[in-house]
Assembly symmetry: D3
Homo-oligomer: 272 residues x 6
């Protein structure tokens, strides 16, 4: 008779579990906790072994407080993850993230991994090389809401010692689908490894890490997250043949290639 | 028969006109425009000559759009200016400031002066010397809402060229009322002069300026606002006799003297 | 019977003595040396007491070597001082400055004051605040020729210990004639005082100093020239009434106000 | 029947094609364009398939303008590549590079790869670690002429959007021939790969990259060229046995080992 | 009947009271405390009203512990203040300062003002402009012993919260006696004012301040001591006539003018 | 008949040869010199071939001068290597290291490798990423004595050109024995390789290098030692299974995990 291995945590909460990355993580983070509590505003199917399912709107404060019960660590991937109208983003990402942190604080959860985004710095140029100490330059309402989350989590750390790792996720998809993503690509394996480092490092304080694989071209210097011990193992190089050398220089005023944020810069709903 | 002098602007909008600083500004900025449009959620008394009064809740998007009609420059001092519960701050300072910027953008107003606050950096230590390029470290929900305003205005400048001067106001009162304010004091004269520089400088892009008089002790380096041409003329030195040399060192763990934010650090309503 | 005071130097060479600033200096620097040797490609009138006149084309190597005989210090204001076609600038400012330095080196002159220009950094923005350690961003052929002079003089210092103070002169005119010059104004008195500091400081190595009065708005940080001891006494403030507060914001794409170089950016002869 | 593969560019111009690196590149860059136009002041032999040969003196403006016809990209390796007398360097590297850029601008060529040199920073110490934002410190007339090229190309980018990658080439030879080159070695393979990155990166603005293989000891930080995506694959380590561990410390005042420029520091023709 | 004014502190300890600066301070700091306890290894004359005299060798641990009884603040000016042989410096300045801090810690004294020296950075060049965050570069055994004191006091702050202001005193004499001191001069009035700021500022943590008047030429940036509120009122300018403009440039290899430490660089006893 | 290979140096002195690292080095550095002179205050057993044994107390000046005779390079690993009472540390590490340098200087030895320690920066946080230009923050008397050694060696380089490589050794043991050492681990192989680089690099000036293997998590940036050419080959990763992922976050006020110095912070003998 075999026994199940002992897992490090009792219960990890994953918000946004029905989203693109949420589905990936649902499968990969099981070894980290006896129970993964999954939450989303959308249906998530049936609970598998070692799972709890809690459908929940993050802008509902009471529901979020309920969600946090007996949780050890939170992976906060919930909310809206693309450009949208401001009120929707405010409800989901501003009120929602505030609700998460208030609940985390009251429940005495010790650490949050916050899915921030490269879009907090999308208005840096593609010829810039930046690090986490430089001012944010968001590229839309979505990016601004992530700036809010970074500010808020900084406060909860400074005020209460509640630790957060903000991960400015690049482009975490099966593979790059355009030239920009050759720079911003974060493989699923590297995403999971970075989360593992963020969850298990003995002390993180308030850390901002760029989530990106070991791609040849790079815009982001991760020096201020060096204590996490993350070492990317994948690279967009293996997809280089899909984007062969080309003479098609972008137009000099093509803002989607001038700035790191790429196509997001044009998606603001207010500018149809 | 004498004629009135020609004023530089046709119409300046001052939000928060019923607030502490709003009342001061109402009297001082008249020479800058033919008409000062005053707005607040509270009553503002009767319109004087050269004034328009528009009572208005900034979280009401339609009202804010109406407010912006024929405005040349906005001095955005509206919203909540002390620590408060999050939902109130979100409505007034986050939704409210978003409404202002959307309205400004659509009305093609060229410049906003945004009343930010030293509380966006209140968790730096009182032995730190900081400048506007360093990461924000807000000291409460109020400070976080001002970080949001700075991020938002950065976006509107990067995306649309809409200029903003964010003024991280220190302590703008008739005089310092505690030792901390000997460092953070901004006289009304210096406040008005800084606003004048911010309003009339030919180009400001997106500038962040600390609003502080020429006090002997200093936490803030204004190098990145040097193009505004602001030169403080007052100093808290004239009040030094009210805070005589003393052996009363604060306790080593007294966070209101460890951090620049001072007493704000303890005012979060959620921690009664 | 009175005797003339003893002057610090025997002979100072001033090139460009027939130019705008040359004429000013001719009158002001007499107390520094028994003899001021004046040189220019244009006529300079008759020699006054304590003067020597040597008309000379700086691109003529032999003439320049002759010019350096028995000279203690060189104030190199010669060459072309506005935008011009490249070949003219190359002859006067590149070949000419090379000739000066070779002659200085061979004649064992110990120090040169080199009239560089703010146009070596003219492509920084008017909202930037820069210092002498930051990369040059010249705004035309004239500025590029001054970058050359700064590089060349750095080499002669690193290689031979020949000291130079490069002065990036702002706008040295009787008074500011546009809003830009309110920032870049260098009064004649301050120019002379800065030159005095540069000539008499006991050790200067290779120093780059911005030449600018104590104007309210500022783009330039002179920290790396602090050892010169220059303290500007004048300010463009006294001319502020000539440029009253105005609502005439420049157009968002007006490059003469976006960049520090101002109108120079449009004067390249190749772009008529 | 097989057909030739389609190549990215129609025509690439390589200046300096008869020089040491020019000969290497002539063989390696053929896959990048249908036609490689080769230019040099010296004879280059017969044109091979896919080549055009144009013998030309770069100081001849008309000839250079002719050279640029129908060119997509320029690899500017022409001019004098070692220390020489100033007038020769001025004609070839200053007038010559100016001619190239004027012709490039008028012909609307979009990008230049400019062969700069580590000798623009040769007067940094061998114990310094520098990056491309730090001031140049050239080690001779050759280095100064390369500083000129970097300034000039910066101007053409700031003014016209004409993109340049300046490559500060280390020591690109078959193998290191002294201890200094163990640090500065750039293998031919890595040179070609770096050029490939510089030519095909979608956007480069004005980039300065150090051209150096992945050698164990290093003086140069390439952070500001990280967007190029260059990853050196070779290392001088494979030649380490040729320079065995030794007790022969250089003399404390041996300037060829104190400074990064090495032996160049003593080659100025004027100091025989 | 008049009563004596209440003084801020009960007892301040001044070590080195028989030294040059000690004698000055003995007269000036009386208003700060009811009793000034004076200590030195040399005789100090009779105690005046409000004084206690304790002759004491700082290398005597027991004596130093005795010295600290009932002390509120320590001004540590004791030890050797010029270059000397190492063992003498070690006894007085290393063992002595250790004894002071151990005694301070055990006696729960809250703050020390430590007389450090500009000689901790004496090997920076006279053309450098430095601040307190840059590495120390001591110019002799005396300077090294002051580096030790700065390290030691940093430790006591990090470990126990014991606050120190290290004052890197320039040249505090009645007036400058050579050209170097025109840069390093600290008037007695400014010294006392700086000490007053250091003693009475509500929170200082571990602060390093350069002690220098408002002289025209400057090597030292006091930004990291800005919270002290010190504003120098004197300047060496009033002595400028004693060091008239001169053509006597120092020799290029004269290390007493190359480096900030001046003549100290040659006084090491071991190099007679 | 075979002949022994010629070794680079005649004689290397290793102090501290009976210590933990001394014993390791004794075996590994033989190929570097004909004779390794071993010194320690404790017995070192019999001399092997190519060894000289000199038992010696470093606080004995005459003995240390004797020790230096005919030495080419010194590896200074002697003294006390853990926290201890101050007087013991002063004798061994302060007087002892001074004796070493005086002897080295008089004997005209050209280079010292000084075993410094990570405990010179032990009061940085475990979430900080630091380099060798940042201020020291020692974590005890041992660390302070190593700060002294770094200051002292800087002086001997600035004053006399005597070269030193200070190696801030992390945790050099057979393997990590706690989580902290997963970050600070320096394998014996990497230690020896780093020493080899430090001994044989042609020029080192005064270099400070962190001694650490290529571990996944990192606190230390070795950019200022890049010219040494050290490339770590080992990593603590191979021991990761001994410190499995765990939910045991340290307490928020556990200073042994807040600060880089770890357990050393609590070992000061004076605070039992």
């Amino acid at each position: 008779m075999s026994t199940a291995p002992i897992k490090p945590f009792k219960r990890i909460l994953l918000t946004g579990a029905a989203g693109g990355l949420g589905k990936i993580l649902r499968e990969r983070i099981k070894p980290w906790a006896d129970i993964i509590r999954l939450s989303d505003i959308s249906p998530m199917g049936d609970a598998q072994e070692g799972e709890e399912i809690v459908q929940c709107d993050l802008s509902n404060k009471a529901a979020v407080h309920e969600l946090m019960k007996d949780v050890d660590v939170v992976l906060h991937f919930g909310g809206i993850s693309t450009e949208n109208n401001f009120e929707a983003i405010m409800a989901a990402n501003i009120q929602g993230t505030y609700n998460i942190y208030e609940a985390v604080h009251l429940a005495k959860v010790k650490r949050v991994i916050f899915a921030s985004s490269n879009h907090v710095v999308g208005y840096y140029k593609t010829t810039d090389y930046i690090d986490a100490s430089m001012p944010t330059r968001p590229d839309g309402m979505y990016g601004i809401s992530k700036c809010f989350g970074e500010s808020l989590s900084r406060y909860y750390y400074d005020r209460f010692g509640l630790e957060t790792v903000c991960i400015r996720i690049g482009s975490s998809f099966p593979e790059p689908i355009n030239k920009r993503m050759m720079v911003t690509y974060l493989s699923y394996n590297d995403l999971v490894e970075l989360l593992r480092c963020a969850v298990f490092a003995p002390r993180v304080g308030h850390t901002i890490s760029f989530g990106v694989s070991n791609n040849p071209a790079s815009w982001w210097d991760n020096r201020y997250a060096a204590h996490l011990g993350f070492q990317a193992k994948d690279s967009s190089t293996v997809f280089a043949h899909k984007f062969p050398d080309s003479s098609d220089y972008p137009a000099a005023d093509d803002i989607t290639t001038i700035y790191q944020g790429g196509g997001f810069l044009l998606t603001g709903p207010q500018y149809k």
